[in-house]
């Protein structure tokens, strides 16, 4: 069983990285047909795959419930204390972590100048807090779980920290980018114990992935 995955259990992110991750697994010879055809099933033992939210991937991998996994750099930066190996930059899923505010509002600069701190909504509280601390600005971080774009429109906050790929969502909500924090791509991560006990299996898979994603 799952010979193409070298017997490894792989955590696969649903969401934005899903399609390209399945394409990559296909090129490795891992059968993803069932994953593609059945979006209610989450565990695929024959293929060695388990699918989940990208932000859960580090959790499963850290605890060894999956040997390796694929998730975004944004997730890894937010969960920086997870004990996992970050083995490979897979190159796809490129997007940028940015700071944005309402077009023409100048809300962040005004708040900083007159109130001494900016209010920022984000799904990435750690990344946002670190960015404002690193740039010497006081910030009140408001954590939200869904559509961050609406937070400045409703007056909840002055600005947002969020991930953007094309910028479409930003412009549709009349938000403008002020700063880029970092670029994020998909990463291959591994459980530290699996990295030692299944070294040959993991190294072989890395080699095959390197060939597959080589530019």
């Amino acid at each position: 069983v799952n010979a193409a995955a070298n017997g490894l259990k792989i955590a696969v992110p649903r969401g934005a990285l899903f399609e390209e991750t399945l394409d990559l697994l296909d090129t490795l010879g891992i059968d993803t047909a069932e994953v593609r055809s059945n979006d209610r099933k989450l565990v695929f033992p024959e293929a060695g795959l388990v699918t989940m939210r990208p932000s859960d991937v580090p959790t499963y991998v850290e605890h060894g419930a999956a040997d390796i996994g694929i998730t975004g750099k944004d997730v890894l930066l937010e969960q920086v204390r997870r004990e996992v190996y970050e083995l490979l930059d897979l190159g796809y899923g490129l997007c940028r972590m940015i700071v944005a505010e309402r077009e023409g509002s100048n809300a962040m600069a005004e708040s900083l100048r007159r109130l001494g701190a900016v209010r920022v909504a984000t799904k990435y509280p750690r990344i946002a807090a670190a960015h404002f601390a690193d740039t010497g600005r006081q910030a009140e971080i408001v954590e939200v779980k869904g559509s961050v774009e609406i937070a400045p429109l409703t007056g909840l906050v002055d600005g947002i920290v969020d991930l953007t790929a094309t910028g479409t969502t930003l412009s549709e909500n009349h938000l403008v980018e002020l700063e880029e924090i970092c670029e994020c791509t998909a990463r291959l991560i591994a459980n530290p114990v699996a990295h030692k006990l299944k070294a040959a299996e993991i190294d072989d898979l890395i080699e095959r992935i390197r060939e597959a994603v080589a530019p």
């Binding site: 850290e62 605890h63 060894g64 419930a65 920086v80 204390r81 004990e83 996992v84 190996y85 970050e86 083995l87 490979l88 930059d89 990463r187 459980n191 530290p192 114990v193 699996a194 990295h195 030692k196 006990l197 070294a199 040959a200 190294d203």
Partner: protein, 325 residues
């Protein structure tokens, strides 16, 4: 009615306690049989005393004030207190000293991580015996004690904590580039290691060495791959360890790992980690800390290893389940 206890702490009820007790008795019997006498030290110590051993370890976890305003800390490991004991109470005895311990240690944990704040540790310390004999004795004894306890698939990772630091210095990597590289390595972020090494603009052989060394792990053949001038003393020690472990019949349990780094600052040579396929985290670890006892005023080479008893217990129950199936 549920009265809460702090997250990361736990009550142990009789069924579990019986099993934990059986496990620790087996380990203790093996340690004692090999001449490692059991020692107990206070749960809380003066912060400024532990700080002599290691800045970060002493600062972590929990602090309180006593009635005189002195800062006390709950110990975050047992090695520093034992270094203190050896430096202050063993003047009249000839080294080496072989000691073992069983006791709770404390660490801070992040919310929702599911990790223990208070955890039962056991371990051994061998003080006064240099490398490679000391390293091999500690590694072999931990492997054997875990076999006694009933584990069948456990492995010991063996590396060298000073390897990468030495390599950076030998390759004349700029001082201010070394720390970020070592930090990336200890975070296990090999992508960042690769990016930073590339930016250094070294000759390709040096670049390759810096990026591949952290991924070299496996049988003794790894030591051949790692036979490069700058790191040869460390690799020689690992090779000598391998011979000693082979003589003792436990070499097949060892994974040589040139990328192994432990977080604790005081390791000066060999470093260990213990793994079992049933548990996603290392069961324990340790290494050589030749400067630690000296920082308490007695210059003695030393080496030790610690195990998280609860994780060993988890591995054992998995072993029993799979054995029964």
């Amino acid at each position: 009615m549920i009265h809460p206890i702090p997250p990361g702490t736990r009550d142990v009820l009789p069924d579990e306690m019986r099993e934990l007790r059986a496990l620790t008795e087996t380990l203790r019997a093996r340690f004692e049989a090999e001449g490692y006498g059991e020692i107990s030290t206070p749960t809380m110590e003066y912060e400024e005393v532990l700080r002599r051993g290691d800045e970060r370890v002493a600062g972590a976890g929990y602090r309180l004030f006593d009635e005189h305003g002195q800062v006390l800390v709950l110990r975050s490991d047992m090695t520093i207190p034992i270094a203190r004991v050896v430096a202050s109470r063993y003047d009249h005895v000839e080294p080496p000293y072989r000691l073992c311990y069983f006791g709770n240690s404390y660490r801070e944990v992040s919310r929702g991580s599911g990790q223990a704040r208070e955890f039962l540790q056991t371990g051994i310390e061998l003080i006064g015996l240099p490398e490679p004999q000391g390293d091999a004795e500690v590694a072999a004894l931990v492997i054997e004690a875990l076999s006694d306890a009933g584990l069948k698939r456990h492995r010991l990772g063996l590396g060298d904590g000073s390897l990468y630091r030495t390599l950076l210095a030998e390759l004349e990597v700029a001082e201010d580039e070394r720390m970020p590289l070592l930090e990336a390595l200890s975070r296990r972020d090999l992508v960042e290691v690769g990016t930073r090494v590339e930016r250094l603009g070294l000759a390709s052989s040096a670049s390759d060495l810096l990026t591949t060394l952290p991924t070299l792990r496996g049988g003794p053949e790894v030591l051949e791959l790692g036979r490069h001038e700058p790191v040869s003393p460390a690799v020689e020690n690992l090779r000598a360890c391998h011979e000693l472990l082979a003589e003792r019949g436990v070499a097949d349990r060892v994974i040589f790992d040139l990328g192994l780094v432990r977080d604790l600052g005081y390791y000066t040579g060999a470093v260990f980690e213990v793994y079992d396929p049933a548990v996603g985290f290392a069961l324990g670890g340790g290494g050589r800390y030749d400067d630690l006892v000296g920082s308490f005023g007695r210059d003695l080479p030393a080496c030790g290893m610690t195990l998280d008893v609860q994780r060993v217990h988890v591995a054992l129950t998995a072993e029993e389940r799979e054995g029964a199936a």
